[in-house]
């Protein structure tokens, strides 16, 4: 069966209510088209994992798709607060939101453990902070080789990881370059991997050390040009900083957010946003 499917079919077939899902991509290659398709399909009770919830999870949380958020930095970068996240956490709108919070180093190592097939990873971190008393999935262990205490963080193995990348080739391999964050670890840690790409090419132009997700790791690939907007895809388009600034106003009030949701997400079908064709 071909891995190349529409984004609508990918989300419908591979992501289920109640799943643990990680949409990764750090400031770059954030899978917005996939996130909005999740909203459109009204998925619910998701445990949503991501270092920086960003506008992407603000939208999912505001739309009521998320039961629990696992994260390490929940703001609109350089702009301010994530208003939908705050409203959900502080006022339970549109539904109560549980959180589990870590540091970037902690989350990165949790994915790393998941990708490595290990129950936990170790790092120097958290000690002396109030995170120790207020989060879960951490433990203190004695170093077996030196006389010191080390922090252990539990592995994350999402049911589904979703990433955006620049290109797929016709054999179903995926290439991404530029800022990659913890995406590679989140992909290797996942049980299923949904990928959206800017373009499908016959074969890759060799770029050593660019990140390749080999075909064997991937469940499905969907074409989604500009699928990372308003974040960006290096080589294709730049970050739309004005859109990040504009989100502050859109998301500030429930009413303006709901209007945005109706017009820009529910009011559109994914086919209107992204071509269904496979790049021929």
């Amino acid at each position: 069966m071909s891995k190349f499917v529409t984004l609508e079919s990918a989300i419908s077939a591979h992501l289920h209510d109640g799943d643990t899902v990680a949409l990764e991509g750090f400031t770059h290659l954030i899978p917005f088209a996939a996130g909005q398709e999740i909203i459109r399909q009204r998925k619910k009770d998701l445990t949503a994992i991501r270092l920086t919830p960003d506008l992407l999870y603000d939208q999912l949380i505001g739309a009521g798709c998320v039961k629990k958020l696992v994260f390490s930095w929940g703001g609109n970068p350089g702009v301010g607060s994530l208003h939908r996240f705050r409203d959900a956490y502080q006022n339970a709108w549109p539904r109560p939101l549980e959180i589990e919070e870590h540091t970037h180093a902690g989350m990165t190592n949790r994915y790393l453990a998941g990708a490595s097939g290990m129950p936990f990873a170790v790092l120097r971190g958290y000690f002396g902070t109030d995170l120790v008393e207020n989060t879960t999935n951490i433990a203190t262990i004695d170093s077996p080789f030196t006389d010191e205490k080390i922090l252990a963080v539990a592995a994350i193995n999402p049911d589904v990881t979703i990433v955006h990348a620049q290109q797929a080739d016709r054999n179903g391999n995926v290439m991404a370059w530029g800022i990659i964050g913890s995406s590679r670890e989140a992909v290797f840690a996942a049980k299923k991997v949904i990928v959206t790409v800017e373009e499908i090419v016959d074969s890759f132009e060799p770029r050593f050390n660019s990140v390749i997700y080999p075909e064997a790791l991937i469940t499905s690939i969907s074409l989604a040009p500009r699928g990372a907007w308003p974040s960006y895809a290096s080589g294709y388009y730049d970050r739309d900083n004005d859109a990040y600034i504009a989100w502050d106003e859109i998301s500030k009030e429930r009413e303006s957010f709901t209007r945005w949701l109706d017009e820009e997400v529910y009011g559109k079908r994914v086919q209107d946003l992204t071509p269904v064709g496979m790049g021929r």
Binding site: S72, W73, P77, G78, H102, T108, G128, G178, I180, I245
Partner: protein, 270 residues
């Protein structure tokens, strides 16, 4: 956190100073960076100050952002820590395991540059929640991000924030990142390999930890600011250095550079 925009701009010899308090803070922060340092940069004023330092007295400053951009040389102000300007102008772009596990954790970074919503007398900082309850906060803030491990592992840390009774508090609501914990020996007890805060730069002055007690001491006061004003904006009985000095006024060159830089920002303010 929103800070009330009262006019805090300094008066010098009865005249309004030719700089605003944000510019003074940014310039004072930039001056603490030495040429050749490896600097882990957070977004906002730390980023403006680091780029300013690199454009002025520290051309060989190595700027690293947690997005993985190593030795980047941005000419415009990024809005986020992963803007194309940072990636396109970097020596290399690495993954987050490499940034946090290989660069930061072993202590390879000379200076970490952080902002904060609240700080206490031992320079512990809060970026998580305002209010006594973690579960039911008055204000939910973004959280730790990279700050906890930056504060733990960098050889020194510089913290930049506006000084008010809401930010300089006797007890912070949540310890997100450790400065000197509850005093001498606290960092060692927690296995934090870095040296901890070296400077706290505010819009009113500069504070440094006392070498013995680790408590923050006011060591420099920005031109046009009064000691009384600083005390009024500090939520504890602030210690003042015997040899308190006045921060050098921004030069016209520094002001020109910082204004040109801020003009390139999508937000048009530092």
């Amino acid at each position: 956190m929103a800070i009330s925009e009262v006019n805090r701009d300094a008066l010098v010899e009865g005249e309004k100073a030719p700089w605003n308090s944000n510019e003074m803070m940014t310039i004072a922060a930039a001056r603490t960076l030495k040429d050749g340092m490896i600097c882990f940069v957070g977004i906002g004023i730390p980023s403006t100050a680091s780029i300013l330092a690199k454009a002025t007295h520290a051309p060989n400053l190595v700027l690293i952002y947690e997005s993985g951009t190593v030795n980047t040389d941005p000419k415009t102000l990024p809005l986020s820590i992963g803007d194309p300007e940072l990636a396109n102008r970097a020596l290399t772009v690495v993954s987050m395991p490499e940034i946090f596990n290989y660069w930061l954790q072993p202590g390879r970074i000379d200076v970490g540059f952080l902002g904060a919503a609240q700080i206490d007398r031992y320079a512990n900082i809060n970026t998580t929640v305002i209010g006594e309850s973690y579960e039911k906060p008055k204000v939910r803030l973004p959280g730790a991000g990279g700050a906890t491990e930056i504060a733990g592992a960098c050889k020194e840390v510089i913290i930049v924030l506006k000084q008010t009774t809401r930010t300089f508090v006797s007890e912070i609501d949540f310890i997100t990142s450790v400065g000197f914990g509850d005093g001498p020996g606290s960092r060692e007890k927690n296995g934090l390999i870095g040296g901890g805060p070296r400077y706290v730069i505010t819009d009113l002055g500069i504070l440094e930890p006392d070498p013995e007690s680790k408590e923050l001491v006011l060591t420099s006061i920005h031109p046009g600011v009064t000691l009384e004003q600083i005390r009024e904006n500090t939520g504890w009985d602030l210690k003042v250095a015997a040899n308190l000095v006045t921060t050098a006024a921004p030069t016209s060159g520094e002001l020109e550079r910082v204004r040109a830089l801020v003009a390139t920002s999508s937000r048009k303010k530092s």
